[in-house]
């Protein structure tokens, strides 16, 4: 009996210690792999150094984490990293706190494209553009324009992401003199691309395998992933079409009901500090979303890096709120009219 009581007390003490530790942690929801490592190396470790508070990461796919947050009812994480348009879904469903911008002084330097909503702000930028294997595409195709994707010489060579057609939809609309809001103008243009499309990649690993093996030597690629693949030894070149590459922004917001909101604000402020933003560019070629970050010139000159207001403004920027609202319609149309053929 005495042993049972002792064990109970010991268990209770251990649980108490465990709860105390949990209270001293900031829990961050993010993607796995290189993005989790980037956040930890560039932001998390600096946050811990400044505050003494450990950061715990909960990783998963963009939509998995959104679903979990929706089903959880209460905040299981304190900060969520997601893409800008999915951030709108968090916001629309009341899963993000309204941000008190006075608690994020570094946000005053945000580029206007990264001021996403009252609930979420950008943390780094990138572009979706044409990545290709120079040894496997005809030499005369230079990808100076998005029009080159429609070149008949590229028949059966292109891979597009299967989860989000918004990038190629924005491109087709632009080539037809419209924009993503009036995307119907580009429908015929998209159908004309069908012969050149070989596959649709499911995730970054799938994309990397398809381009590394030469299965799909031309891809619509996220620039940060392209540089990650180059670091892994894959021979890829990134093109910058004259019409502009498609802008993407990853964002952060504070989960509704977070018990560590003040720590979360500190984390976000550190994430937007010039040094951390420069480090993000250095580690993973993410473009700074603040105007006062000093990026190594060798990195700044790489295709897809956005370090000046002019470069940001030259991108094809689809309103993330529009993307959040139109994703299902675009995806359904794309499935029925492009992927099915």
């Amino acid at each position: 009996m005495h042993k049972a009581i002792a064990l109970t007390l010991l268990s209770a003490s251990l649980m108490g210690i465990s709860s105390a530790n949990a209270a001293d942690k900031l829990i961050v929801s993010t993607w796995g792999g290189s993005f989790r490592d980037l956040i930890d190396e560039a932001i998390g470790q600096e946050f811990t150094r400044q505050t003494g508070v450990e950061v715990e990461y909960v990783t998963g796919g963009t939509i998995d984490r959104l679903n979990k947050a929706k089903l959880a009812g209460s905040a299981e994480t304190d900060i969520t990293f997601t893409t800008s348009h999915v951030g709108w879904l968090y916001a629309n469903d009341g899963l993000f706190e309204d941000l008190d911008m006075s608690k994020i002084p570094n946000a005053k330097n945000l580029v206007h494209q990264a001021k996403l909503s009252p609930n979420h702000i950008g943390v780094w930028g990138y572009v979706y553009t044409i990545g290709y294997r120079p040894d496997l595409v005809p030499e005369d195709i230079t990808f100076d324009s998005w029009e080159d994707l429609w070149n008949p010489e590229l028949e059966g060579t292109i891979a597009l992401p299967d989860w989000d057609p918004s990038h190629i939809i924005a491109v087709a609309a632009k080539l037809e003199g419209a924009d993503a809001e009036h995307w119907e103008a580009g429908q015929d243009k998209l159908k004309a691309l069908i012969p050149n499309i070989k596959a649709f990649y499911t995730n970054d690993a799938n994309s990397q395998q398809l381009i590394a093996t030469g299965e799909t030597p031309v891809q619509l690629l996220l620039s940060m992933n392209a540089y990650h693949m180059m670091d892994e030894g894959v021979d890829i070149e990134l093109a910058m079409p004259k019409e502009g590459a498609v802008l993407g922004i990853d964002a952060m917001g504070i989960n509704k009901g977070s018990e560590h909101a003040d720590l979360a604000y500190q984390f976000m402020n550190i994430a937007l500090s010039p040094d951390v933003q420069a480090k993000i560019a250095e580690i993973n070629n993410g473009s700074p979303v603040v105007t006062n970050a000093t990026v190594d010139p060798e990195i700044a000159k790489l295709p897809g890096m956005l370090t000046t207001a002019e470069q940001w403004d030259a991108t094809l920027d689809t309103d993330p709120k529009l993307r959040a609202e139109m994703t299902a319609e675009w995806r359904k149309w794309f499935s029925e009219n492009i992927m099915a053929y």
Partner: protein, 284 residues
């Protein structure tokens, strides 16, 4: 009359709780399937049957037919490849051969479906193992397009389902008394005739069980058609994923799931009915 011990009932509890959880999950999917989609939100709207009406569109009807066809081909080719392996496994007296077959047949079960599928991408690619081999020995002069095709998906699915088919067939074959075959051969039948007239008919219950399992398994397969198919091979499971996790249109994805479930139940019931005479072959 003997009474069962009271604790036996408790043994059923985990299974009952699992079944209850599964039922609740299925009812949740069902209620999602009759709700309207709200663009830009995870919340769903009021009652509607439009989601089921949309399933009649060409793309979705084709996906259903393609899934049935893929499942049929996988079960058929899986059976043709698994039966000889299972037969040899059960009948051989050579220990090393038995071990070899067990390792070949069972080891893939220790790897996840995704890992096995990624391996197939390396094998089936234009510069992959299979094409390189065929090119090297001069059987083809340009790579065969196997990735992103139904053929490639079936090849990988057969590999995914083979271990379980071999195990089920071997179980069925091991219950056949070898004395029947000996009796047939002692009466003058050739080994092949003995196999055709004795062993094969007696193994049909195992064949039916393995084919049914392979069919049902393939019908719901996701990772293999998604990765090997590269978006060019539509199945019910890949469309559910695309609609739910890419488009966030959970009501439509739920309607597709319910239709897929209903179709699986109908097809398996039809298969069971058609093979009823075979299921009791060999029982005493």
């Amino acid at each position: 009359m003997t009474r069962k011990p009271a604790f036996v009932g408790w043994f059923l509890l985990p299974a009952m709780l699992t079944a209850l959880g599964l039922t609740i999950a299925m009812l949740t999917v069902l209620q999602y399937s009759v709700r309207a989609y709200i663009p830009g939100s995870l919340d769903v709207g009021g009652f509607t049957l439009d989601n089921f009406q949309d399933l009649l569109k060409g793309l979705y009807a084709r996906a259903f037919l393609n899934t049935v066809w893929l499942s049929f081909k996988t079960a058929l080719f899986g059976l043709l490849l698994s039966y000889p392996l299972a037969y040899t496994l059960v009948r051989t007296r050579t220990a090393w051969l038995k071990s070899c077959i067990l390792i070949i047949a069972i080891t893939p079960l220790f790897l996840g479906e995704v890992v096995r599928t990624y391996s197939w991408i390396i094998v089936l690619g234009n510069s992959g193992f299979l094409n390189s081999l065929l090119l090297a020995i001069g059987l083809i002069d340009k790579p065969l397009q196997l990735m992103f095709t139904n053929t490639g998906v079936v090849l990988a699915l057969v590999h995914v389902t083979m271990p379980i088919m071999v195990l089920m067939l071997a179980t069925g074959l091991s219950h056949i008394d070898i004395a029947y075959e000996k009796a047939a051969t002692s009466l003058g039948a050739s080994p092949f005739r003995a196999f055709l007239t004795i062993t094969l008919p007696l193994s049909l219950p195992g064949v039916v069980a393995s084919v049914t399992t392979a069919f049902a398994w393939t019908f719901s397969a996701f990772a293999t058609p998604q990765l090997i198919g590269g978006g060019r091979v539509s199945t019910v499971a890949t469309l559910v994923y695309q609609l739910g996790f890419s488009s966030l249109n959970f009501p439509f994805a739920a309607a597709l799931s319910m239709a897929g479930l209903a179709m699986t139940v109908v097809l398996l019931a039809a298969l069971k009915r058609m093979t009823r005479p075979l299921q009791n072959v060999g029982t005493h």
